[in-house]
């Protein structure tokens, strides 16, 4: 696995950060000067030193798109962490059994902006060779395939904030269909005023904590005031079990089920609000695909964005699982520390969910001292860890929901 998150880069530092409840949310002066109502956000602390470890000078010159850079770093890290050979020389043949489904949101926004200025000035000739490969939706998977020599399916999915989780569901399907042995799955997204402006205008971003950034993202709390935008990338190497066992790979977890659906903008669902029946069907679909009972889920890594949607999500989980009060699984929100990383969210949060499953702990869901009373009516407050806890975990579910009324859920099981 590999991760580029606002509070840490790389699996080791990221594990420590989420155990410690470390917030990666900062005040961003540029958003203040551009009159954003929300002036905080999550940007991964990438340095030139880190970049030079992954990219040549030429690649960096030709690859300015932040989201694609994040995706490549997470993808390369995941590849190496899985014990697969790296660097992959140009002379080597493609690995026909290895593919990539890597989702993206607005990963090349800054590059699109500079390109538009050139075109408007009548300088289309000066766009050069690198604009398309950075601005096409599949830019990130295309770059990763070139770096790693992937010869199976190489594509990018997009389903807004459910993108990362959906990418893993799609990779799982590909391997189950026996069409690939290895799928590098994940997602990435960029940051900054051009990516986040539309959300600010919609008044869905948090605007009450500009001078207290670490407290801004408050999933499940009564004082939650909108989501905090974030960015980054997460990546996982999915591999057919026997193939992984044969080469002695580290197995963090088994993906036993996944499901993707849409609420169709019906029954209360809209472009921006989920159809609760759709979500509950998605949860049940994932359980059925995993062939487990609702009681077997030990913990949920929620979508939980720090909006009114949090109450609805907990309600939907409770109804779909038929579990409430102290019988409800543990539930936590990584977004409390890193904000909502949009298209990257599902992949980063899946990495976090698997780390917790593998190491038997749950990270704190920070900024939730004042649990929302409507959530407290459904589940016992002790279901939400406010401090890191050690706990034996066997099955963890990960949910992601996105604009367009789309849903994806994964079920991870500890591999022993």
């Amino acid at each position: 696995m590999g991760v580029v998150a606002p509070n840490a880069i790389g699996l080791g530092p990221f594990t420590k950060a989420i155990q410690d409840g470390l917030s990666g949310i900062r005040f961003l002066p540029e958003m203040e000067s551009l009159k954003f109502a929300c002036q905080v956000g999550g940007v991964p602390p990438i340095t030139d030193d880190i970049l030079s470890k992954y990219f040549s000078d030429l690649t960096l010159k030709q690859l300015q798109a932040h989201g694609i850079r994040f995706g490549c770093i997470a993808g390369i890290d995941a590849w190496q962490d899985a014990g697969l050979s790296y660097p992959v020389e140009k002379e080597e043949l493609p690995n026909w059994d290895a593919g990539c489904i890597f989702g993206a949101g607005m990963s090349g926004m800054s590059v699109i902006r500079s390109g538009i200025y050139k075109v408007d000035e009548g300088k289309v000739k000066r766009l050069g060779s690198s604009l398309i490969q950075q601005t096409m939706p599949s830019g990130v998977s295309a770059h990763l395939s070139g770096i790693l020599g992937l010869g199976n399916q190489v594509t990018t999915n997009a389903s807004a904030c459910s993108t990362g989780t959906e990418a893993i569901v799609l990779g799982l399907d590909r391997i189950r269909q026996n069409k690939a042995k290895i799928m590098l799955c994940g997602s990435c997204d960029s940051y900054g005023p051009y990516v986040w402006g539309g959300f600010d205008s919609m008044r869905v971003l948090c605007r009450k904590y500009n001078h207290e950034p670490a407290a801004a993202s408050r999933p499940m709390s009564e004082s939650a005031a909108g989501f905090v935008p974030g960015s980054g990338a997460g990546a996982l190497v999915l591999e057919e079990l026997d193939h992984a066992l044969e080469r002695g790979a580290t197995i963090y977890a088994e993906i036993i089920g996944g499901y993707t659906n849409s609420g169709g903008h019906r029954q209360g669902g809209t472009m921006t609000a989920p159809n609760p029946i759709g979500i509950q069907r998605c949860i049940k679909g994932a359980l059925s695909d995993a062939d487990i009972q609702a009681e077997e889920i030990d913990a949920i890594s929620g979508h939980l964005t720090s909006t009114m949607g949090d109450v609805l999500e907990v309600k939907n989980w409770s109804e779909a699982l038929g579990r409430k009060g102290s019988n409800f699984p543990k539930i936590n929100a990584l977004k409390s520390m890193i904000g909502h990383c949009l298209s990257a969210a599902g992949a980063i949060e899946s990495v976090a969910a698997i780390l917790q499953l593998h190491q038997d702990f749950l990270h704190p869901s920070i900024n939730c001292e004042d649990l929302h009373p409507e959530i407290a009516e459904i589940i016992d407050p002790d279901c939400i860890p406010r401090q890191q806890i050690s706990i034996p975990l066997n099955i963890v579910a990960k949910s992601s929901f996105g604009f367009g009324d789309v849903n994806s859920i994964l079920v991870f099981k500890s591999y022993k």
């Binding site: 040549s56 030429l58 030709q62 000739k125 000066r126 050069g128 060779s129």
Partner: protein
Amino acid sequence: MQEKEIIEKLTAVIKTYVEDKGVLEGITPETHLVNDLNINSAHLVDIILDTEEAFDIEIDDESAEQMLTVKAAVDIVSSKLSA
């Protein structure tokens, strides 16, 4: 501008697009950008753009298509500079 200066400036432009800097050591006027320096042919466009900027010249399409060796590039730049 002296030819030596042109070559120096051009080499600096070309160098950016060479992944394995080792191949630059044996560079001669006949060196082919794609075949000898292993430059990705998509990057020839960028070399032309960077050359235009470095020498403050405009390279027409016909000349651009011929900029495949070091000598061709030097000749094209020289002729544009003296035009």
